[in-house]
Symmetry: C2
Subunit: 198 residues, 2 copies
């Protein structure tokens, strides 16, 4: 996950992978925080992709139209993978997994929210890594060879960042912004969305 | 806002108003919590409407396709109005305001998130009410005749519920679920999305 282009990370977007039956807030929490970071405080731009480029229907019925199909998106500086029931199907979809693997290899950082960690695992990105996930999936992840599971709000292991369930994605996003842009900027983002950091 | 149909509130949906330049998380936070309430714990169904029935583009670019146009949606048991910069335009849109007024008159409850309170005000729903909003809009709301503003995470005044900025919508949603279904159910919803109540 080196910066193969030699461009500073802010020149490449934060790319959010959309898929059917993803959990709505797994996407929208980090999307909001990263977007405020971009809009007000100099963070990288944000965009969404789905396998086909057509709308996805999230777990509770929200229909979201992506900015691009996987094949048509720009190179990601940061890849964000939400979770939800649909992560099970994505974890068996060779086309999406191939894109995740290729994208991760060129991105600076890879983030998963909630059970999105299943997709990182299925793409072969977690060997030797420590991760976390939604409480309902901790046992599942603990059975993956070469993966260490920790129960935490979020875990950073090098450039692989994973969060606990749903709302923990917001804490992960804030921690990421803090690491990239410092405490003061992260605090301003949190203040704008009136999110007292945990 | 009496229950004109005589139906129990759970038979009528929670209807979320979508509009261009709404703040993404104003929608998605309450949407997630109400949807989990419906999906797992017997809460009412949730749906989205927009003026035309076509997709809206939220403040940071997320494109969301509504379930119906205003004219085609079912009668709302609960109306949820997000905020964001787009609330200024909606507050001058007679068609949407007319729908909000009519919908509110038949709904059990009306909720606004963040600066969505502007839309309730413009629809004439706040006379004599105490409300809150995003910190950037507290002074604006304090100038509305007949409206009392309180700086709080959320405010319930009868069947008008208003929240502070963005993430406070989740606390409002949890407070609503608690009032309708009790502490234990609200706690189960919070536990599922791993949101420690504030």
């Amino acid at each position: 996950m080196t910066n193969a282009t030699g461009m500073p990370p802010n020149d490449r977007p934060v790319v959010f992978l959309l898929f059917d039956d993803m959990e709505e807030l797994d996407l929208a929490g980090p999307w909001e925080l990263f977007s405020v970071w971009h809009d007000r405080f100099g963070g990288p731009p944000c965009m969404t992709v789905s396998a086909s480029g057509h709308a996805v229907r999230a777990r509770y019925g929200l229909q979201i139209v992506p900015d691009a199909a996987l094949a048509d998106g720009p190179e990601a500086g940061v890849l964000v993978v939400p979770g939800g029931d649909g992560s099970r199907r994505v974890a068996e979809d060779g086309v999406i997994l191939g894109w995740v693997r290729q994208t991760a290899a060129r991105a600076e950082h890879v983030l998963s929210i909630c059970t999105g960690v299943r997709i990182l695992h299925a793409a072969g990105l977690l060997d030797g890594r420590t991760v976390t996930t939604h409480h309902s999936a901790l046992a599942e992840a603990a059975a993956w060879p070469g993966v260490t599971v920790r129960e935490a709000r979020y875990v950073r292991d090098g450039n692989v960042w994973t969060s606990a369930g749903v709302t923990a994605g917001m804490d992960l996003a804030l921690a990421f912004i803090r690491a990239e842009s410092g405490d003061a900027t992260a605090q301003k983002v949190a203040d704008f969305v009136e999110y007292p950091p945990r």
